[in-house]
């Protein structure tokens, strides 16, 4: 077992983990943060995307020990404490950017990362930015619309994400 210290959604944790524990399993099984999901076994689907030190990563393709000392944000840390949805969450809701919803946690984390790097992406840049996330239901059209809406909203409110 190896000891790790991580901050997840604003709370710090010290835990013993087996080195082979994937970050996503640590989050779900040890911390109970089941908002982050596993959608594949090949590192392709992006459903498990979280932010590590501000950058989007696939938490199924990271060992928990590699995240030692890191600051992690999951989909459960997006909304404000009073429950107000994050602009990306609100835009997904408003624009019907999900059907079954399984890809949504990872998709929103990828979008949050994209808009941090590029607050005003073109449609092509949006499609490239969510290249690491697969959605089997929506055909992506409404996801792209939601990202455009979130970008507009974030830029009018000063880019707080």
């Amino acid at each position: 077992m190896t000891r790790i210290n991580v901050n997840v959604d604003g709370i710090s944790y010290t835990d013993e983990v087996e080195p082979r524990t994937l970050l996503v399993h640590y989050l779900r099984e040890q911390l109970g943060k089941i908002g982050t999901v596993v959608g594949c076994d090949t590192s392709n689907c992006g459903a498990c995307t979280v932010a590590l030190d501000g950058q989007s990563v696939k938490s199924c393709t990271l060992l928990a020990v590699q995240a030692d000392g890191g600051d992690i944000t999951t989909v459960e840390g997006l909304a404000a404490e009073d429950g107000t949805l994050h602009p990306v969450q609100q835009a997904f809701h408003d624009h019907h950017a999900l059907q079954c919803g399984f890809c949504t946690p990872g998709m929103m984390m990828a979008v949050r990362d994209l808009l941090q790097d590029n607050p005003d992406p073109s449609e092509a840049e949006i499609r490239e930015g969510i290249e690491g996330n697969l959605c089997r239901c929506t055909g992506y059209q409404n996801i792209v619309r939601a990202v455009q809406a979130a970008a507009a909203n974030l830029s009018s409110t000063g880019g707080q994400s």
Binding site: P19, R20, Q55, L62, L63, E131
Partner: protein, 285 residues
């Protein structure tokens, strides 16, 4: 799936990493960003006894100027390479090819040196390193040595690195004036590996190509140079006709794989078409 159990070591320096690697026996593996190794472990295609995590070593990260070359630390992430000013100025071919690697999440973790050490012939950076005549810096128990790109890729997933050696940096020679480049990748869906890709470097003077270096991705068990094309391009017109004629040689000396993405004759066709496109795009004609 969950990987089989292993021990985990996170050394604080290259020196410590080298001695950890020497002491951990032949089943130890170096862990970089983990973007190729963790999928392999998860599918239980490998059972290392120990992982030696060098991903965060500051000594192995970042790009610096060393006179006639830029030096890219092996553990510099794809994301960092793409946005690095020295890479942009002296080796835009690397930045352009790196942008086509995987997706943003994988590029945040995966590293330049990890991708090259992994030596997947479908990986995009090997052909680029070959075309640029990069030098690989390896550090082992007996010190540091440099390996020419032409001698680095030995076979499928096999490099000239000894089991007790760490890839520490890659030296990219600066190109003089007149050199232009382009990476042309062909795949069919998002975040996919190259079915075939071509890295083209051309030196152009007054409408003709004086010299060319062409790297091929996924046309054999290692990245390859299209030597016959390079010969045919030396002194050729930078016109569609002349470049097209030279590109007809692109599949010579290759041994393209056949798999679900395409048979080898299809890849040979792609190599010719993509070589023409890459050279013309590089030459700006």
């Amino acid at each position: 799936m969950i990987p089989a159990a292993f021990d985990y070591v996170r050394p604080d320096s290259v020196a410590q990493a080298v001695s950890a690697l020497a002491g951990a026996g032949e089943d130890a593996k170096v862990l970089g960003g983990g973007q190729s190794l963790i999928p392999v472990l998860r599918l239980r295609l490998a059972y290392p006894s120990t992982l030696i995590d060098v991903g965060r070593l500051a000594e192995l990260r970042g790009v610096h100027d060393d006179g006639d070359a830029i030096v890219i630390g092996a553990m510099t992430t794809h994301h960092e390479v793409m946005h690095d000013a020295l890479v942009g100025e002296h080796a835009p071919l690397i930045a352009q090819a790196t942008e086509t690697v995987a997706d943003p999440q994988v590029r945040h973790r995966g590293t330049f040196g990890g991708a090259l050490a992994h030596a997947d012939p479908a990986g995009d950076l090997g052909a680029v390193a070959l075309a640029l005549d990069c030098e690989f810096v390896a550090t082992g128990p007996s010190g540091e040595r440099r390996i020419a790109a032409a001698d680095f890729f030995l076979d499928y997933l096999t490099t000239a690195l000894a089991p007790d050696e760490l890839l520490t940096a890659v030296r990219v020679p600066k190109l003089g004036p007149g050199w232009l480049s382009h990476y042309e990748k062909f795949n069919r869906v998002a975040q996919a590996w190259s079915i075939v890709a071509v890295a083209a470097l051309v030196h152009r003077e007054n409408g003709s190509i004086t010299q060319a270096r062409i790297g091929l991705t996924n046309m054999g068990s290692t990245p390859l140079r299209a030597v016959a094309v390079e010969h045919a391009l030396a002194g050729a017109d930078a016109s569609g006709e002349a470049v097209g004629a030279a590109a007809e040689h692109a599949a010579e000396g290759t041994a393209a794989p056949s798999d679900l993405s395409g048979k080898s004759d299809y890849r040979e066709h792609l190599a010719r078409v993509l070589t023409k496109r890459a050279v013309l795009a590089a030459a700006g004609s």
